[in-house]
Symmetry: C3
């Protein structure tokens, strides 16, 4: 049906891409495999194929399952638009809207919702292949996966579209994988945007992953990968970036906006970098290094924590109080160098009330090196707006007289020893046992 390994979903004789793109993709993969039967001779291999999705709305009611290497699925438009803003527009104003939905080369994940079901069953695209070698060089580029709606999760949230729960995933990679690429994608309104197990030499580059419960989850273990140059922002319960037992992960040049329970959350991650990211969050616990995450370098990041300005989500948060720290660390031998922290908070919202917020919190660990971090803290009157958009613009254009706020720039808990804190706060701002940790206060006037 094709003679050169190029497949176009709109020109395929099996199935209907507009009503079930999953069936179309699966039949293409079956075709690719049938054509590979006589290869692997004379250094000739199984080169794979490219499946092209022109701009269009493609409903998916059958999960697409990938079990061959070298498959590229490519579209011509990441198609992001803010469904969150749209779903909070009063019903009678919707008729005036230019568009109601995301666009581009868009897959509508219409899989049946099962918010307590097997996560993998809700994935628009599932990658799974066991055996050797690991599945390699699968690429996803330039299209949109839209989860369409969030649903009532029993939490009592008045607008179910604001729950960030729907049991749906964009792409779920279940098997160990090598040299995968995810670039230029748009992922929206999915409880899990991108879930990847056992990644090696993975590239997640230049995507737009937002209004998802969780954006990117790197699970199990993994190594030598990069998450770079993405725009991301998870829901209030989820992670923008999560990684587990990873070594050699490079997270750089990302612009991560709210909400996200954590912007970046590590468990047992070692010898990795979080550098050069713009991080903005409405709750503490922006970057969390847990379960002995060690020998990581956290440098040149800009942390901004301020208050949720949008009325419908005022009651949401991640449950952490302001003593938790914007950067929370449990682990050894990490380097925390040259980060900027802006803590902008209205005194009435500080929890516990009257507390002095924590910026960097080392809960346990030794021989961490914390140097040249600069924290700015101001007590600012939080403005709340019914319009998310108006609130944002207002914040950009208004200069307000604010007073400075007392914070603990570095808090090191008692069990931690042999850490070094340099030029990251005054003697009063750095709380630790200075007889067992080295300290040089930032010079004061």
């Amino acid at each position: 049906m094709t003679n050169n390994n190029v497949y176009d979903v709109t020109k395929w004789p099996i199935g209907n891409p507009y009503t079930d793109i999953g069936e179309v993709i699966n039949s293409m993969i079956a075709d690719i495999k049938s054509r590979q039967a006589n290869t692997d001779v004379n250094d000739g291999g199984k080169p794979g194929a490219v499946i092209y999705l022109p701009p269009g709305d493609y409903h998916l009611i059958t999960q697409a399952v990938i079990d061959i290497s070298y498959l590229k699925i490519e579209g011509s438009g990441h198609g992001f638009t803010s469904s969150s803003i749209r779903f909070n527009v009063p019903e009678n104003e919707c008729a005036d809207l230019h568009e109601l939905w995301p666009g581009g080369s868009r897959i509508l994940n219409d899989l049946p919702v099962a918010i307590d079901g097997a996560e993998e069953a809700g994935a628009a695209i599932l990658v799974r292949r066991e055996g050797d070698p690991r599945i390699s060089s699968v690429e996803f580029a330039g299209f949109c996966i839209d989860g369409l709606h969030f649903v009532d999760d029993g939490s009592g949230e008045p607008n179910p579209e604001n729950t960030y729960v729907n049991g749906k995933t964009g792409i779920y990679i279940a098997s160990a994988c090598d040299s995968f690429r995810i670039t230029g994608m748009g992922l929206i309104y999915l409880e899990h945007g991108l879930t990847i197990y056992h990644a090696d030499a993975l590239t997640v580059h230049d995507n737009f992953i937002a209004e998802c419960g969780n954006c990117l989850e790197l699970r199990g273990w993994g190594q030598a990968s990069k998450v770079t140059d993405n725009l991301m922002g998870a829901g209030f319960k989820g992670y923008s970036i999560y990684a587990q037992n990873f070594g050699g992960l490079l997270i750089t040049a990302n612009n991560i906006f709210p909400r996200g329970a954590s912007s970046i959350h590590f468990e047992g991650v070692t010898r990795s970098l979080v550098t050069n990211n713009r991080l903005h969050a409405f709750y503490p616990g922006m970057v969390v290094l847990e379960k002995n995450s060690s020998e990581n370098l956290i440098t040149a990041n800009h942390f901004l924590h301020d208050h949720e300005p949008w009325a419908p989500l005022q009651e949401k948060n991640n449950g952490l109080d302001d003593l938790y720290g914007l950067l929370y660390i449990s682990g050894d031998h990490n380097s925390i160098i040259g980060n900027h922290f802006s803590e902008i908070i209205d005194a009435q919202y500080i929890r516990p009330l009257g507390a002095k917020p924590t910026i960097i919190h080392l809960v346990s660990g030794s021989e961490n090196y914390i140097a040249n971090n600069h924290a700015v803290a101001t007590a600012s009157h939080a403005k709340i707006s019914d319009s998310c958009y108006a609130a944002q613009v207002d914040a950009l254009l208004t200069t307000e007289v604010t007073s400075s706020l007392a914070v603990t720039t570095v808090l090191i808990e008692k069990e931690s020893i042999k850490n070094t804190v340099l030029d990251s706060g005054s003697d009063e701002q750095v709380m630790m046992d200075k007889s067992v940790n080295a300290f040089r206060p930032t010079p004061q006037v």
Copy 2:
């Protein structure tokens, strides 16, 4: 005329893409809109389309106007070549040249020149749509927009091709926009390469924008955007990157070469990052933070200031003297950490003559944190060459004995208090009121 939202300008029945690509694109957009009339039912939206420009020369005499979301315009070649060098080749040598013009998928902006006219009228591509939601996810990728010629601007410049003035713009985005992407583009010989108002979640990534009066201007206000991994260099009067009232802008991994009155110029920009860029300029004022630009992080950048080596542009500059600073700051709470500055200057060119050049200049502001910046200053004999190319190669391969030059590494003006300067110069090199600003000199032998 298409049944899958893929448009090829060379295969379209209306207009002639070679004589007026603008008419072709506009008729395609009209077609897309006519086909969207019956959508927006059953979660189905207005997915947009892709317009493909194969490699070719496409004259534009009608402005292309975009007022739909999810439109991608894509080419197969950014097509940059240095017109500046070419236009300064003696006429009798032109016959020997392999090419006279940029190439790739190239739009020739033939709009009538009006150097004092409405800027927007000179744009090859105009994006404008008011109402809700904001126009979203328009993408430009992989093609070239060429302004062709600069013109006599009345300044007396003997070669009008060196004025950087022609009233032309590449892409002008007039309305508030969300999640736009500009990637892999080439923009050349335009007075304004890319002008964008009210950007949210914008991506300007991996482009080549050079020999433009100004490369990228982010105007009005904007937020949560990234300008990453670009090659850029503006003309002597313009900005390589300009931003106004922006929050959460990430400018990283760019290689910004001369000339540019400023490499990066901020007005009222807050909580943004300038990190990890290579900056090369022929004039002071390389990075300017004005109008209370605050809480920004400027780190891990390499600043090189040396003298214009090319004969035709010897007389050009941005009018600033060497006391102005390579990095100029007016604002509070900024973090300036771990930058390298190379100041290479022939004593005869220092202005005012005999002055001690300034590296970091804090003209007003409090609680800025300036740490671990390293300035190298050498008095070097400037070589001037008729050939831009020869001058460059010569500079790479020649090691010259130079003497070190006395500079002020940090200058803080009198009205500024509570700033902190650490390890960024000796006591003699840091000029400020040390009774109201904190200071630790770089240790000396």
Copy 3:
């Protein structure tokens, strides 16, 4: 044969792309040139063309030679898989493997092997054009070049596939070039992946270059270029990134894994950046600045040096002992700021036996600024495994009790003066003549 400058190798009447893609590409280029004869009038130029390689296996027995600007060669799959792991699988297990070869849009470099011949003769793609202007804006994107096999090099290596020698190159750019782009490529099993002379405004972005003798070599001289966001790893004798007489090179956001004699090796490179990279190597000499490499900024990098875990390559190394330094510098005025170093080494493997390993080694040079570097050193029992993959996973999931190891964090040789070392080790860890170099030890408890 085409009327819009778009060429598809599978639809071309001359030659057979599956048996000799080189002949097909060369005949396309001849066609492009014949069609350009009547251009360059009315501002109309020679726009070039795009040559498309669908996914497929394309043998190359004729070298492809490019001598026109604005040519883009593009595929739909970088196709990397680990041949190294595959070639070390026992023969009787190969029948069970899913794939035996890399894939995607794959060029099989079948040029005759001449391991002592002219390097350029072994290049799948050669770019060469002299005269003015320099050849510009050639682009390579999204395909794979596979060298297929390494060969017996007379070294006595029992498995010739592990020699990293075969006289083959992926792309060889012999002439001065401007604004070239190499993006999204896969390069594998080539003695030289990418060799580029005299580069200006080059982009090497987001590629996968691994299991090559050398990955990227920037030779002769060059300027104003970027090597960003790549996954790379050379063989035990070669460079992952090499640059010579370069100015203004930006190397950032790369994840460079073993083996590589050097991860990054500079000769006479000035005013360049190595920032924000993840570097992992099995030998000292990870980053080397030689031949008066000066005024460079090396910041925010994560260096990991540990022991080769894979049995077949236990005997390989780059011949350097542990006194050489992970970062080795010969040059002046460099800034070495805020890097993290993890040195993980089994005492039995330290060479010379019993020595104290060196982290940063300044062998000669003055006025270098070395600040805020954090070195972690642990004596760990090295585990060796027959399975490269198993070894990697094991390392990720095992936490082992280790003891800390004494190292020299900074060693400055005698001839070097006026350098500054701040907060980069204790008095005991920093070895230099402290009467001619400035020093502030990291505060100790």
